[in-house]
């Protein structure tokens, strides 16, 4: 297995140019996702989805403008992969999470399972789609298209351990320079998804950018769920038996 790779998206130097969105669309031949005027900010893309694998958020605040390029988190414990009933979602040799579009049968289960709202189904083609972390480019020894196209190095690609270390140093430097609100999001391997392969440096609370503040992989609780369901199954059997035990 190759070394685990990922993205470190440093939003403190994102300029909101959306080159990542365009590069992703072009390289992966992702179809358009509608042309909606959202009338909120410079963001007419809206959110990640089946045909949006990089999404630049714009948050206009007093005295500053936050910009952040969101992407699939390629979780250590990936709910989409866990719940996929066909095995279409799999973990690659780079420790990324990818959908095999020739296996996906469009059951849609991965969609509500993702705690970040990343993966979605294309209704015209019936299958689930999301960021592949440019699996084809990785296999060819190249970096993902979005990181390649980013003009400010806000999107950095590389071995995850290296990125985490670089990110820690970046936060320390920002803190020293007085940007005390800088914080890492997703870098902690002890969080509810075991850390993410794509993590971020944010300048505000995650929810401001549309990110869940403390996500959990839903399958963490699956053993408990099966136990409760087992209890209900036993109760059902006992209930039926009780109904049939009376006089004829």
């Amino acid at each position: 297995m190759a070394e685990r790779v990922g993205f470190f998206t440093d939003t403190s130097i994102c300029i909101g140019c959306k080159a990542c969105e365009v590069a992703c669309k072009e390289w992966n031949n992702v179809p358009d996702d509608g042309f909606v005027f959202r009338a909120t900010s410079y963001d007419n893309t809206g959110a990640l989805g089946a045909s949006t694998w990089r999404h630049v958020a714009f948050v206009e605040q007093d005295g500053r403008w936050l910009m952040s390029s969101d992407v699939c988190k390629h979780c250590t414990h990936a709910a989409c992969l866990d719940v996929c009933p066909t095995g279409a979602l799999f973990r690659t040799e780079f420790d990324t999470v990818v959908v095999q579009s020739d296996v996906c049968n469009g059951c849609g289960y991965c969609v509500p399972a993702c705690p970040y709202g990343v993966i979605d189904r294309r209704e015209d083609d019936g299958r689930a789609w999301k960021c592949t972390l440019c699996y084809d480019r990785l296999r060819g020894g190249m970096e993902p298209a979005c990181a390649k196209a980013c003009p400010t190095k806000s999107i950095q690609f590389g071995p995850l351990d290296e990125l985490r270390q670089r990110a820690e140093e970046r936060v320390e430097r920002l803190h020293a320079e007085g940007t005390t609100e800088a914080r890492l999001y997703g870098a902690n391997p002890d969080n509810g998804v075991g850390g993410t392969g794509a993590f971020f440096l944010l300048l505000d609370e995650p929810e401001t950018y549309g990110l869940p503040p403390d996500p959990v992989v839903t399958t963490r609780d699956l053993p408990a769920m099966w136990r409760w369901a087992g209890g209900a199954a036993l109760a059902l059997a006992a209930g039926v038996a009780a109904c049939f035990l009376g006089r004829r």
């Binding site: 959110a47 866990d82 059951c107 969080n191 609370e205 109760a235 059997a237």
Partner: protein
């Protein structure tokens, strides 16, 4: 931003990205998915009743339960396949077996249950292989209780707050509703003199369904709100009235065919309302970022961030 949180009063203030949802809404369609949930429950509990009837020698009731179990499983499978984005690929479900995927476990459960109920019904209709038919009927009791409850795990094993947090009560809500549905269907298709156990099942299941639903809404607090508001709230309330009304009628119907029919229809409608209501509540709880953000923010503020022990 200062934040004050009280146990009973949900904080109205939370931050989001232009009020947009954090997670995706379930994309399962109406009527396919909720109808499948109903039919799966109906078929599962009917299988359990068929097994119990076989073991206690109630031939006429067993025939009704057998046929109900088969009809429910067949129609349910058709709805499930129609729900897939690529229906022609439905067999892809059976290329792996994954315990981490309730959909995978469910597909295999449905395959086994459909097969067993098909053999049982086929034998009853043709008169062939009566021993195999009886064995399949008894075995469909086991696959049936799994059928009637796995769907609760299917919903709970998502990031949808109203479903995930309802993981304890949803299986009892669904199994109670399944018992009521099967009781109602078998009660309607069995001569009155032999339908006693079906009436009892209809009434007991209805009470279990209503109690489990009520407990869930109370325990969930803020996250249970989607079950009380809007269209989901109307469906859940309608379900309660129909289910309890139907159960009451089942116990007092006496010899009246009309009242029995009314009871069966009310319980069936109530069970359908439950499934449509639960699906809608899930959608609503995914759509409003409040239900995703507030509990997670509370966790962080209380210094209890999520973790995944042992993995």
């Amino acid at each position: 931003m200062p934040r004050r949180r009280d146990e009973m009063v949900p904080d109205a203030e939370f931050r989001s990205y232009y009020g947009q949802p954090v997670i995706k809404q379930p994309i399962w369609h109406e009527p396919h998915m909720p109808t499948y949930l109903y039919l799966g429950g109906l078929s599962g509990a009917a299988g359990a009743m068929a097994a119990a009837a076989r073991l206690t020698g109630r031939d006429r009731l067993e025939l009704a339960a057998r046929m109900t179990a088969f009809a429910g499983a067949s129609a349910g499978a058709a709805f499930l396949v129609a729900e897939l984005g690529r229906p022609m690929r439905f067999l892809n479900m059976l290329r792996v077996f994954k315990l981490t995927s309730p959909m995978s476990v469910g597909s295999w459960t449905l395959a086994a249950h459909s097969g067993l109920t098909g053999v049982a019904a086929g034998s009853a209709v043709t008169g062939l292989l009566p021993l195999a038919g009886d064995a399949a009927s008894v075995a469909s009791g086991l696959s049936g209780v799994a059928m009637a409850t796995y769907t609760a795990v299917l919903l709970a094993d998502t990031a949808v707050p109203a479903w995930h947090e309802g993981m304890r009560e949803l299986p009892f809500l669904f199994s109670g509703s399944a018992l009521a549905s099967a009781g109602a269907a078998v009660m309607l298709t069995t001569p009155r003199a032999q339908a006693g156990p079906a009436r009892a099942a209809a009434a007991a299941g209805a009470v279990a369904e209503v109690v489990a639903g009520g407990l869930m809404e109370r325990r969930l607090g803020l996250v249970g709100e989607p079950y009380r508001k809007g269209r989901a709230g109307r469906l859940m309330r309608a379900s309660r009235v129909l289910t309890l009304g139907g159960a009451l009628l089942a116990t007092v119907a006496g010899r009246s065919r009309a009242l029995t029919a009314l009871s069966g229809l009310a319980i069936t409608a109530g069970a359908l309302c439950t499934r449509f209501g639960v699906l809608e509540a899930g959608r609503a709880s995914a759509k409003d970022p409040r239900y995703t953000v507030v509990p997670q923010r509370d966790r962080l503020d209380a210094g209890r961030p999520a973790s995944v022990p042992g993995r």
